[in-house]
Symmetry: C3
Subunit: 456 residues, 3 copies
């Protein structure tokens, strides 16, 4: 069985190049100096450097999204919880890295499948990779893959951290720190890598033709589903819902949330652009450029869509947090396919994402699901929409496979998230007491205040 | 008529390379394996990848300047307007992208001139390009230009967004949201691209020898002129001027403004460095390096110049906002020519920029022109200074052409900005009522507060 | 005497390549077209472009650390000093750039040694380079070194600025602005470059086998020593220590400090990754990838180490500022050797750094050394630890040389810092009066307030 990496089908034309490097016999007439010069060139001019650097560059840009989530979330919680939210984002990024090294990466790209649906011994249509702990780099085949093993690990690691960041915003202001970090460990070590292996690890979803360029489903909806289950298991913040009354709990620092939004937008160029997985030749770097433009224009659509719709719905007022989430919703919507749409389609896909955000935020409140920062509308709802939109522009895909992917990953993540959240609930407890919530998490769990001189 | 792109005269020596790629006949004795290896190398080793990546990398860094403007402006307005200022910066960046796609880019790089001063049928010395809507990428000639079409669009788009960001700071705290966004649309779709086409689009200014490496005039003074006209048309904030008394309205979050300054400084390396437009060979990447160093040292000059001058003028106190604007003023000053100055000259050019900021801020107040963040001194005054300074170090330029460029672009932008601002004034109105200003834009137009728990 | 640059021993395999470029004679049978094509390729495919770009890219990322230090420090001081702290960070970054141009770089990479321990005329085992003012670029030999001179200057300049940033946090809230900037000038023009020349300039420490990949000792401990001496000479903030009572003075904006931490983490990939000094071939870019992964995992170790230890020590509460400094401590710890450790060792090295931070913060308070932001634990203590840990994984190093390096650099920086701090103390004075400290530096020295609408 061949494990198809996320790079499947885009092998940079390196097969040919490396065959040449490997040494083809030639006629006797060749000047040895010429040969030496060509060999020297081949040593430096392979796409390996550019591809590896793309992973490092784009990964670094995605890494910075962790700071964006921190700003967004710390800005949208009340001041009594803002230090906790800041610290929690640093903590979860750390747990994500640790778990992805301990188990996650190897599960995502399994050396062999332990469980599969295939005919020959059950290993095709892979479902669960064989466990293999403590990833370490092997660059012996890297000239063939076209990038260094560590650069790939780094790039994939910041993706799993993104999924974990989504959860922390939704369950803010009432979840206990340590159970949250333990859930993050389960998400990054098991839940995320297993479902991701179905597609980017060459498993059964990739076999049936599911398509998700940079992770509308595989990253964003996964974070969204885990957040949704968390919000339900943990329950709403004390005082959020009284009967049918929804008690607004405004964010304490809107400019910080705005900065977070811009940082996420910035980071998304790495997220989607890097997911081309190569830039060492004409086609790849041109594709990265297309992805940059479409990513931007979907965010543009999301912002303007949310802006106009809120102005219409809210008597001319434009809710800033809706605009922020509109940008994110537009970005999530284009993430499943940022390469094939025309610019106009990218704007439209993003604008529908912006609409969906504005429409689904109040819906969650009706269901009394307390999503502090609006992560479920932006990441889950728009993640589904973006995945469904792929066949609109990518003729190599079909709605059937997209729906199978969305539903199967959704079901898997919901079930596993529920198991882990409930396990934590009935052992350590996941919800802070009403008193601790009233006091604020900064005082009850952190021991300092976010803004000791400002808040009432 | 040949339209000379911004890249005119720096064709990366690609002409030769691509001629070779296109296929030159050679002797019979050449080993086919050698040929194959050379062709494989040529496929990956052209400067195309590096040049395209420069646009993406530098463009991304410039994109982040939008976040810098947001932080600077949200930090320098009063807290009751800070959410609006944050949201407005996200909104304008979106409008800029949309308009540059709809009209702007095609006007900036016109396929043909509709109006010109030239002899043969009026098309040389181009003034106004033929309108051509909905830009889309054509990469058929990209190996010749040396970069992908989308990467260039992305890079140019973040430039127009920069010009728009300048306006939003000056007219903050009293302009209505929607008219502001409509002005932004006019600026990004028409005003900016038309004047820019005169130079970077190969129009009449480039024909007469005007020189502006990265846009002291074409970007920064354009934003500054549009801001100046806006400030005059809209009028000062309620309560700013009583007779001869200038009422200080201190910014609400100086550390946020400081962060914004550093983000702008960071972004300027992309702004000026990327404007070399190529880095795929020795000369270009070396030039980008020179630009990085001079850009930094001009900011250094601006900071220290502003710091020392404020200390002298204000009895030893160093106004932080002057220092921030000194950095920006130094950066704007070097933007017209960051390549030819020695380091010492770069420091000096920047220091004069810093002086100019400190001297022109009170001048504006004397004229009762209310520039909330000091954008006119930093971007317009220093933009003019920087453009005038080009012939001091670049022997291929002359003061005459520089002055013609400054004056003609200034006149064009002032007239068109006035038309659009006045059109908006007499239709929708551009200025919020005194009550709305007193209440704050966050409550009157956004419907939430930036810092609901902190402000009095 | 040959001056070995920081790049000593990693000459990119360029010797061979450039020999070829220089022109080797070949047989008569070579087709001139083939030759032309190979020469065109050699012109674009040398590692020069990639190496130079690494310096620019990584340098830019490190430059952004200046913004990270600003956020961290402005967030950890009290609100009455936050505008000063923001402005001071912009000022010190400017002074660093100026001094490194005026003297610093030339002292760091001396053309010849004025003082040395060597046998032949005293010039080997260099101790002090000949003074040579006003650095300017010379790219005549750049194809041999493999990068442009300016790109190297830029990269080294942001390193010296990092050392200066460390000092400003420790001595915050009571140091006078101008003496602080003058000390920064001495640090960046003399102290830092001289000790750095001992190693990266090819001086005596490099001759005896000291090893410090990216500057645990050469950058971070240097900043830490200078900060320690400053804290002692200036004395603690008014009201910090009463007898044995330590008066907590909580930071005013923890989310801003959290953002600063993430920006530093982000910047560290440039700091350590760029210190590979090249990425233009397989080995170098692969090494950069390894460095990225280990850098991240050490931060992970630092965060989790600090988190767990504070939870144990402080009855379950997790002090956010300890976690922030834990991240920084982990990063400093891996900086001396981010290439040779396994991932597990990187986590461990970082975790010990995190422990050291948590343990040494209270120790400083016991000694009544007032370090406002915890820079001495994070940068000095962990800098020593990281340097000592090098031989654990790098078999080409030894503890003896490491200890000699740590001690000699420590002694040198302490003595010179003491001289400069005391010189400033007895001439201009370095400490603000009690009244000015009570009033806050923003009012007494800046003339505006950081948060005029919020603070009590």
């Amino acid at each position: 069985m061949t494990v198809i990496k996320r790079t499947a089908g885009r092998l940079f034309g390196l097969a040919a190049a490396s065959a040449l490097v490997a040494g083809v016999s030639w006629g006797q007439a060749v000047d040895p100096d010429i040969l030496a010069r060509i060999e020297a060139l081949e040593g430096t001019a392979s796409p390996y450097v550019d591809n590896t650097f793309l992973f490092l560059f784009a990964g670094l840009v995605v890494m910075f999204m962790a700071a964006g989530f921190m700003c967004l979330e710390a800005g949208l919680v009340r001041s009594k919880n803002a230090a906790m939210q800041s610290m929690k984002n640093i903590g979860l990024f750390s747990v994500a890295g640790l778990m992805f090294w301990l188990i996650g990466y190897n599960l995502l790209y399994p050396g062999s499948w332990a469980v599969g649906f295939g005919e020959e011994g059950g290993a095709d249509f892979g479902v669960l990779g064989a466990f293999d702990f403590l990833w370490s780099a092997d660059n012996s085949g890297s000239l063939d893959t076209g990038y260094s093993a560590e650069s790939d690990w780094y790039f994939q690691m910041v993706f799993v951290a993104t999924a974990a960041s989504i959860v922390s915003g939704t369950v803010a202001e009432r979840v206990k720190l340590w159970p949250f970090l333990l859930f993050t460990a389960a998400l990054c070590g098991l839940i995320y890598p297993i479902q991701c292996s179905w597609q980017w690890g060459g498993g059964w979803l990739s076999d049936i033709g599911f398509s998700d360029f940079a992770g509308s489903t595989l990253v964003h909806s996964v974070g969204g589903w885990a957040a949704l289950v968390g919000a339900i298991v943990i329950g709403p913040r004390i005082g959020k819902y009284f009967g049918d009354t929804v008690n607004a709990m405004p964010g304490s620092n809107i400019p910080l949330a705005g900065l977070g939004t811009f940082i996420l937008w910035f980071g998304w160029f790495g997220f989607n652009g890097g997911s081309q997985l190569a830039m060492g030749n004409f086609d790849d770097v041109t594709a990265v450029s297309t992805v940059f433009v479409n990513t931007n224009m979907a965010a543009v659509g999301g912002v303007l869509g949310a802006m106009i719709l809120t102005a219409v719905l809210y008597k001319g007022k434009v809710d800033a947090t809706m605009v922020f989430n509109g940008a994110i919703g537009g970005l999530v919507s284009i993430t499943a396919e940022p390469l094939t749409p025309s610019i106009g389609m990218a704007v439209l896909i993003g604008a529908i994402g912006g609409f969906l955000v504005v429409l689904s935020v109040p819906l969650l409140d009706k269901l009394k699901i307390d999503d502090v920062v609006g992560a479920i509308p932006a990441h889950l709802v728009c993640g589904i929409w973006g995945t469904l939109a792929v066949p609109l522009t990518n003729s190599g895909t079909n709605f059937g496979a997209q729906i199978i992917g969305i539903v199967s990953i959704g079901a898997f993540v919901v079930v596993l998230s529920a198991i882990f959240w409930l396990l934590l609930k009935y052992t350590m407890g996941v919800r802070l007491s009403d008193e601790d919530q009233e006091l604020g998490l900064d005082r009850s769990e952190v021991g300092l205040e976010a803004y000791p001189e400002f808040a009432g």
